[in-house]
């Protein structure tokens, strides 16, 4: 007597509510609860503090995808292609990265690969100015592949360490836009063998379950190598990346925590799990 075989119903309800309202999703929430269950000794099942601690550990475990640390020196220029749905925070994140890498002593070049949206190039130019780096841009409506091709060639010719390519926002359900992105990827490889060395999908942490479809479809189109999770300074928890990490083994490289140039942090899984359950 006094030995619980399963987690108490009320506590289970609290766990579920915390998980669902953090956008962790049905499938992953169930998986986490099962993992917590399996990891707990019988006598700990009815101790809320043990259960919550176990949940945090399992979240940490799923986020640890075993990706190698980011190595900006493994290619010169290291070409980073930034992709994602409309309004996720791509252009802003590129501005922050340009500043961060410049301060780390890297020579950075930006490519204004969004040739479609109103004032997209102008927006990137303001960020480039803030970071003190140049931008390669084309004419409005120009094929984004050719703009990025030119940028990579210039980066190589002029000894840049990093070339970051901005692309237009696009919804993954739009086949012709995903084809355009795949072409940008292919053409980058023609400008420089091995490019793009990194393809980062920018995910808005206010997104719900659609982020999973974004990760899958963008990866099918351009072999995504990492994630940037933006807008974590808001009230959304970004829990959907736990399922994405588990299923797709994609590392979160950075998080965006505001709209200023310094509002970027390297991803810290422990801090993320802590904030999620807060």
């Amino acid at each position: 007597f006094g030995q619980a075989k399963t987690i108490d119903d009320d506590l289970l309800g609290d766990l579920e509510e915390a998980l669902f309202t953090a956008d962790i999703g049905v499938r992953t929430s169930q998986k986490l609860v099962d993992m917590v269950h399996d990891s707990l000794g019988k006598k700990d099942m009815d101790r809320p503090d043990k259960v919550w601690a176990a949940l945090k550990d399992q979240i940490r475990a799923l986020l640890d995808v075993g990706a190698p640390p980011l190595d900006l020196d493994r290619a010169k220029p290291l070409v980073i292609m930034v992709v994602g749905v409309n309004g996720a925070g791509k252009t802003t994140s590129i501005g922050k990265l340009a500043k961060r890498y410049t301060e780390a002593g890297k020579k950075v070049l930006l490519a204004a690969g969004d040739t479609f949206r109103a004032a997209a190039v102008e927006q990137l130019e303001v960020w480039a100015d803030r970071a003190g780096v140049p931008v390669v841009k084309g004419s409005s409506g120009q094929d984004p592949s050719s703009v990025i091709f030119e940028a990579i060639e210039r980066a190589e010719r002029e000894g840049y360490d990093v070339c970051i390519a901005d692309t237009a926002g696009r919804l993954q359900a739009k086949v012709e836009l995903m084809d355009e992105l795949a072409k940008v990827h292919r053409v980058s490889g023609k400008a420089l063998a091995g490019a793009p060395h990194e393809v980062w999908l920018v995910l808005d942490s206010t997104n719900g379950q659609n982020a999973i479809s974004q990760a899958k479809v963008f990866t099918e189109a351009v072999a995504v190598t990492g994630l940037v999770l933006t807008k974590l300074d808001g009230t959304a928890k970004g829990g959907v990346i736990i399922g994405i990490s588990d299923e797709m083994r994609l590392p979160v490289r950075y998080i965006g925590i505001g709209e200023k140039v310094e509002d970027l942090r390297a991803f810290d899984a422990d801090a993320f799990a802590e904030a999620l359950l807060a």
């Binding site: 749905v85 109103a118 004032a119 808005d204 719900g208 808001g234 009230t235």
Partner: protein, 299 residues
Amino acid sequence: TISKGFRTVKHRFQGKRELTEDNITEALRDIRISLLEADVDFKVVRGFIGRVKEKALGEVVQISAGHGADRQEVKPGDHFIKICQDELEALMGPVDTGLNFSAGITTVMMIGLQGAGKTTTTGKLAQWLTDQGRRPMLVAADIYRPAAIQQLRVLGERLDVPVYHEEGKQPPEICKNALGYAKSRGRDVVLFDTAGRLAIDEQLMGELGEIKRLTKPDNVMLVVDAMIGQDAVRTAASFDERIGIDGFIMTKLDGDARGGAALSIKAVTGKPIKFLGMGETLDALEEFRPEGLASRIMG
């Protein structure tokens, strides 16, 4: 047209002669999962499931007590689905689209989180208004985002609609002065495009309050991204409490996001869904109709 979620439910009841507590519970489990995966708010789902269960069980009692004998003619699956659909429609609320037009100059204030689609939707509304024979004017009141003014100016040029801005002024003053300018130019609808902001940002919410105080807008529209998850209710409720919204516009529905937040926001704030953004071009705006959204959310 019946959605996939409802089809699974129908399947469950195939060959069953009646609604029972067991088959209702099973069906509701499927529906709950479907709604949560569609990003409907956790508590809104709980309320919905509770009400449907109560109604459906009430039917079981009725039928087994021999009342409503003629109801046994309706297949149990169809009957259960009808209960769900009625409940969904009740949540979506009565259709109340379009804008509140005033006798003089009609004002529309566009607000919402960063990247939701405010600037683009402001342009779309201007096109919609022009098509109706009105004379809109756009006000660039986002002084923070790089090239935000430029973005709105490009849209204005495409639509041949004037864009008002004043360098070096704060948004409340820009919006207030825009009204005088609109009057002098014979414009009859003024749309304020504001900067994206978090509902928890005290200073920026204060700025919105100030714009509202100075311009007394006829329409405060909350612009919401269809992909938004469980944060939808938190955000919408905060904006509504702090500023007061007249309606909301859901954008990016041309993608495959289920858009469950539309249900949640309507359920919690009681405010109507006015328009739907269906693409990046300025003609991609529709007035809200419940049928399409209900079946999309049900999956």
